[in-house]
Amino acid sequence: MSIVPSAKSTGALYWPVQARRNIGVRSLFLVVLAFLIAYGVLFPGLFAASGFAKFTQSWFPLALVAMAQAILMLTGGISLAIGATVSLGAVIAATTMAGPFGVAGGAAAVALTGLGIGAATGFIVVKLRLPAIVVTLAGSFIIGGAALLILPRPGGAIPAWLSDLLAGDTPAAFVLLVVIVLLWKLYLATPLGLSLYAAGENPVGAYRSGVPVDAARVAAYAISGLLSTGAGLFVAAQTGSGDPVIGTAFTLNSIAAAVLGGIGFLGGQGTMRGALAGSLLLSLMISVMFFLGFTPVAQYVAQGLIIIGAVAIPQFRKV
């Protein structure tokens, strides 16, 4: 992290560029703010330490998978294996962390698995030129199967101190999220990171300009895998054990959050801050509707309508 200050001190261009990127998500930020206020009014505990901790913990895994999906969609890809990868991360964490290599060894295993799976998927999609949607669909079977092999039924254990640290009465989730966002900023400030946009929006032009298009895309898949297994580790810490199917819902929610956050399907459209806001919005929506006493039915109905609306309304504005 020591190099972050130098990234920030790069003078008169970096910050205006960042400020410009905010314009596109301004209205989204306002909506999120409105939901945050509503949430704060309904549940004043949000501003207490424990309420804040609980809230960020419920948001954290969704934020990670939204980022995992967004980075792929920015390169023009998509993954239907996010949920399975989350599950795999969770079972690996739950089976290794109590073992001889301890928490550090377990975390390393989780991270390496995520990077490896992502890189392999990326290689198949990018180098063998197969459609991402089918590759990741097949991948979801393989990854989910691996999770079932490791832990056929919920079990394993996460050391209690880690669960307490990550999912207890601490702001650890929030701090981690801040760190991850800073790391992302750092990545986006590298030539490879910024190439994501060019590789997603105009791959031919980017290639002609000397952008390592394939490398940027494979790297995106690897990072996406890492974020997904990381989310799995966190979920395992929340529940204190591993469950081989715990991640299933994250596939669809990651797409929904990314799209709510303004990420387009065609590549190169949207920003990570938008995707994060989208995941926060989704997380808030569920919580706020819960406190307003919406029945689960109404929650689902509202969620479906909001997602369609969020995608359709910009279409009309364009016409």
Binding site: R129, V135, A138, G145, A256, Y300
Partner: protein, 323 residues
């Protein structure tokens, strides 16, 4: 050089593509033969019949999915529609409907309308198919809880019961339903102008629209068909199960897409056939059964599934590089 390679590659790809239904069928046959030697009960007529009957549900869901995928879209709401059908049918019964036919028709109209709404979102609101159908699935989950309240519902419908259990001439009614549906689907897909429009739309929507293909109505029809066949699958699965519950349709989303892809239909649209999806569906249930027979764990079953799809994709990879 390039030109020569490309045209030869195009020919080879189309040759592979043409044989894909047969290739899939051959794999099914080979697997059946080998498995019946390895495991005594596997090759029994009754067992194979049971497999095809299980395949019928996937095959019906995948019929609509094949239409949608060929037209260049994807339907992620089929699982929810299957569940809607299986849950709402027991609740829709009238005294004046002793055979149960009217309630079945009512349910099919309902699921077709759901599909048409998907089509409206895709064609008129221009929402990406994945998002539109995903949102529809979320929406339907809510609807299902209203309808069923979370508990299983039992079908009292005689026709549904017959579909799930009767064996006229020794053939399960579900298989007969599947054969009849397949005949209609294959005819519509390959022997009518409507079918040709769908292929054109999936291969190049802009060129199709400039050639006069009515895009909106065709899109509505395609998603409507998907809703209809998913509804039909829901009726069948209800008959076979006796009960409908929330989540009954869940396995059929991935299965339907896998069957379509295994059958050689391009996920990018414009190329494919339901004739490949049929053996694709049987292959899926066969592998499931085989892994059960050799006592493979669910994990291995899933891994084998995925690897198989990936392996077949790699076989036909060249065709996918066209966009």
């Amino acid at each position: 050089m390039t030109a020569w390679n490309d045209s030869a590659g195009g020919k080879r790809a189309s040759a592979i593509l043409k044989s894909r239904p047969f290739l899939t069928l051959a794999i099914v046959a080979a697997v059946w033969i080998v498995a019946s030697f390895v495991s005594r009960g596997f090759g029994a007529y009754g067992h194979l019949r049971y497999l095809v009957e299980l395949g019928a549900v996937i095959g019906l869901v995948a019929a609509g999915q094949t239409f949608v995928v060929i037209a260049g879209g994807i339907d992620l709401s089929v699982a929810a529609i299957v569940t809607v059908s299986a849950i709402s049918l027991p609740l829709l019964s009238w005294q004046a409907d002793p055979t149960g036919l009217v309630s079945i028709l009512a349910v099919l109209v309902l699921t077709t309308i759901i599909g048409v709404i998907n089509g409206l979102g895709v064609a008129l609101l221009r929402v990406h198919p994945m998002i539109m159908t995903l949102a529809m699935a979320t929406f339907l989950q809510g609807l299902l809880i209203i309808i069923a309240g979370g508990s299983a519902v039992t079908a009292e419908n005689p026709l549904v019961h017959w579909l799930g259990n009767a064996r006229p001439a020794g053939i399960p009614a579900g298989i007969i339903l599947w054969i009849a549906t397949s005949a209609v689907v294959l005819t519509v897909m390959h022997a009518t102008p409507f079918g040709a429009r769908i292929f054109a739309m999936g291969a190049n929507p802009l060129a199709a629209s400039l050639s006069g293909v009515p895009m909106t109505s065709t899109t509505l029809a395609v998603y409507g068909i998907s809703g209809f066949t998913a509804g039909l699958a829901g009726v069948l699965v209800l008959g076979m199960n006796g009960q409908g519950y929330v989540g009954i349709g869940d396995p059929y989303l991935l299965a339907s897409i896998a069957a379509v892809v295994l059958g050689g239909t391009s996920i990018l649209g414009g190329l494919g056939t339901y004739a490949g999806t049929i053996p694709g569906a049987i292959l899926l249930v066969t592998i499931t059964a085989l892994i059960t027979v050799v006592n493979a764990s669910p994990g291995w079953r899933s891994i084998l599934f995925g690897s198989l799809i990936l392996g077949l994709l790699l076989l036909s990879g060249r065709e996918q590089a066209r966009r």
